[in-house]
Subunit: 327 residues, 2 copies
């Protein structure tokens, strides 16, 4: 019994000594179990470069050669992806113009700083010398916006917009929409491509084309038809000398930059194509990219914005998997 | 009497004929009086160009030569207005660097498309060859933001902002502010000038300088010290060839663009100065300009945005009144 007593006493003494530690251990174990149950697996926040590098094959889509233009300049090739979901008539007409070689030998006529580059026929106002449009349409009805449609993807950006009710991405294009009036439209931002027009809405058709080279000129939204986006070669346009005339027009013909040709990619021999893929903007990977732009994980960023504006979200483009070469 | 009766009858008959016309005339007269009483004098909505042309002398302020830098490139002069109200230490240090001719013969090292141009010492990482800073500070504590102060002007823009609680203008500079934390700061947009830094907040000081040449990179706000704005010569920077290395650095030394010199305008002979005036952003004329950007009165605009984003409001600059030449 003594032993038992002793035993009991000893046992109790040991228990009194051990108990606080045991209690702490139990609490820690419980906390660990709880944390494991409620917290997702710890994942280092990735930078955009890491997200793009880790993207899976299904996060990319090839650009359709039938909806791709190659503009050839002395400095290299500008690749434009067309947006038939938003401007079907303009896309068809620009392809028709390219297929009758309308653009070949025309020129970049206007480079307005922080605004647009524009090309067309230098002789457009001279009936004797102006290039004739053969089979394509000279002008078209406007395609400034379109009806919202469940078949047209829309990936919402979370941080709002100064100009539109909602903004986001649709199949690799920046877009805005307004559920109140049931409309959606491509938005003006860096590299977006549109059809120049005169004062009336139906005075453009693709014979004159402009590309945005500066701060997103969102006041142009719903005023002019956008029909595509430059996916490669922007620097060939953005670094051109600025025109010194009104609206950035070159004042002397010798300043104009020749357009060697514009072709539909499907008409170019396969070996000469720039096979590109665009990140799917409806993918989880793109969502992670957006988040990495809202809160930059890079060590350099001491303050995280926590927000991102439409025109500050890059839409990654890469050389098609398995193809040699880089962008 | 007959005459009277006849007269009465004739009078009545005439009145019956005249009355409807009289009534209409009375109604028109009343409507005109009412309209004159309730409508302000009709005023044609002016375009930005018309507003700038009609601005009065007091709508402009001369730029202080003591707070102006001239960067001389082979292509011409870039004029930078400094912002001592927001970055007093950086402004003082950049002026000290200019006054010891630190920048003369350095080079533009980096041109990243749709982002920044950056210049500094090509040999900065080579202790043997790096240029020595003589009297100026090598690095400074950050000036990412400052306290809101009733003495610092703030002209609010009405349409909100994706990144900040409030945005507007302060003495010709784009700014944001947050009354909740009592801070205000210069914002990143086209032509804004800042001091490059490494990973720590106090690793910059003005020896490396960058200028924004693309979409407003607002994620840099409060991460790096802005200290000025290019008021003339942006096209000399924005049209430079893009660097093909990481982050747009030129890969070969011969691609770098020499900086001939940077001077404080006050140190330049008066005859050689670019005397410029900036529109006062606290003037009624500037308010009208903002409104003309929210709702473009130009016939070309078929859809009025009714809104404007900070980086889409131009801050007009002109050659000082009475001086020959134009911008």
């Amino acid at each position: 019994m003594k032993i038992t007593l002793n035993g009991k006493r000893a046992c109790l003494r040991v228990w009194k000594m051990v108990f606080p530690g045991f209690l702490i251990a139990c609490l820690i174990a419980a906390a660990v179990v709880l944390l494991q149950a409620t917290e997702p697996p710890v994942q280092k926040t990735m930078t955009m470069a890491e997200i793009v590098a880790a993207a899976k094959a299904e996060d990319w889509r090839a650009i359709d050669p039938e909806n791709t233009l190659y503009m050839e300049l002395a400095g290299g090739r500008v690749v434009i992806e067309l947006a038939p979901a938003f401007a079907p008539r303009h896309v068809a007409n620009v392809k028709a113009l390219a297929r009758e070689h309308y653009y070949d030998g025309l020129a970049i006529l206007r480079v307005q700083d922080n605004y647009v580059v524009q090309w067309g026929d230098p002789e457009v106002d001279n009936p004797q010398k102006a290039r004739k449009i053969q089979r394509a349409e000279k002008t078209l009805a406007a395609e400034f916006d379109r009806a919202i449609d469940a078949k047209i993807p829309f990936t919402l950006l979370p941080d709002g917009d100064v100009y539109a009710a909602e903004v986001g991405f649709s199949d690799g294009f920046p877009v805005a929409r307004d559920k109140n009036n049931g409309r959606m439209w491509l938005t003006h931002g860096y590299g977006m491509v549109g059809a120049g027009r005169g004062d009336t809405s139906d005075s453009g058709g693709g014979a004159e084309i402009y590309v945005v080279i500066g701060q997103a000129p969102r006041h142009l939204d719903r005023n002019i038809t956008l029909f595509g986006r430059v996916v490669q070669g922007m620097e060939l346009l953005s670094s051109l000398p600025r025109g010194s005339g009104p609206m950035g027009f070159y004042e002397k013909p010798e300043q104009q930059v020749p357009v060697k040709s514009i072709r539909v990619a499907a008409d170019v021999p396969i070996a000469e194509r720039s096979d590109l893929e665009v990140m799917r903007t409806d993918s989880d990977t793109f969502q992670r990219l957006v988040e990495s732009r809202r809160n930059r994980p890079d060590a350099w960023f001491l303050f995280k914005a926590g927000r991102v504006e439409l025109a500050n979200v890059p839409i990654p483009v890469r050389k098609k998997a398995g193809k040699s070469g880089t962008l």
